[in-house]
């Protein structure tokens, strides 16, 4: 399984904080997962959209595989 997590505005807009997805049989990138969870609402999401894979910053084009945790969130504001 691939665990998808959403934070802040992304969580609010999609109404979803965690989802488990079956990995596809063909290679997938983070953007492919986003299409699955957001569907037509992808256009409603704020830009830029940040991605983390297994708790490290990544990008929408980064490959994902079975067992990964993929997170989508807006730009960050720590400190």
């Amino acid at each position: 399984m691939i665990t998808v997590r959403c934070f802040a505005q992304i969580r609010e807009i999609l109404g979803c904080d965690t989802r488990e997805l079956l990995p596809a049989h063909t290679p997938q990138c983070a953007a492919d997962l986003l299409k699955v969870i957001a569907g037509a609402r992808t256009a409603d999401l704020p830009k830029p959209l940040l991605v983390a894979i297994n708790c490290e910053h990544a990008s929408l084009t980064s490959p994902v595989k079975d067992g990964d945790e993929v997170a989508f969130f807006p730009p960050v504001s720590g400190g």
Binding site: P48, L50, A52, V76, S77, G79
Partner: protein, 142 residues
């Protein structure tokens, strides 16, 4: 290095004094606090959301990179989450080094990296409503 994520407040001087760092000739601390106004709106509180597992990993990476780059002897980062009222403390970054220049530079490096890399999101609560604070993108990701 010590990294702590917590809802409760901290006492900066007591946290720093609790560590006995050998060889240190300088200690620099930064304390971030909740501002009481933004763009002419009165801010009553801040809701801080984070990604706990990644936050811990990212703060550790940020601290380790600064430690190596600025020859820091010790790094302490405490970051709060949840609802914080205006004027409350949000974050403490304290670093120790042999000399002051490394301590000042190291502390600044960590605070700057928190702004762009640490997965926290802030929502400002004001009488007019709640507004997400615009965030930043890690520079190496464009």
């Amino acid at each position: 290095m010590i990294v702590r994520l917590q809802a409760e407040d901290f006492e900066p001087e007591r946290e720093a004094q609790a560590l006995d760092v050998r060889g240190a000739g300088a200690r620099v601390s930064f304390v971030g606090i909740v501002r009481d106004a933004a763009e002419n709106r009165r801010i009553e509180a801040l809701d801080i959301e984070h990604y706990p597992e990644m936050t811990r990993a990212e703060l550790t990476r940020i601290g380790a990179a600064a430690q190596a780059r600025h020859h820091l002897l010790e790094v302490l980062i405490i970051h709060r989450y949840g609802r914080l009222l205006c004027h409350e403390r949000i974050v403490l970054v304290t670093v120790w080094s042999a000399h002051r220049a490394e301590a000042f530079a190291g502390c600044q490096t960590i605070v700057d990296a928190l702004k762009t890399r640490a997965p926290f999101w802030k929502k400002e609560i004001s009488p007019e409503g709640a507004v997400w604070v615009p965030g930043q993108t890690p520079q190496d990701l464009g």
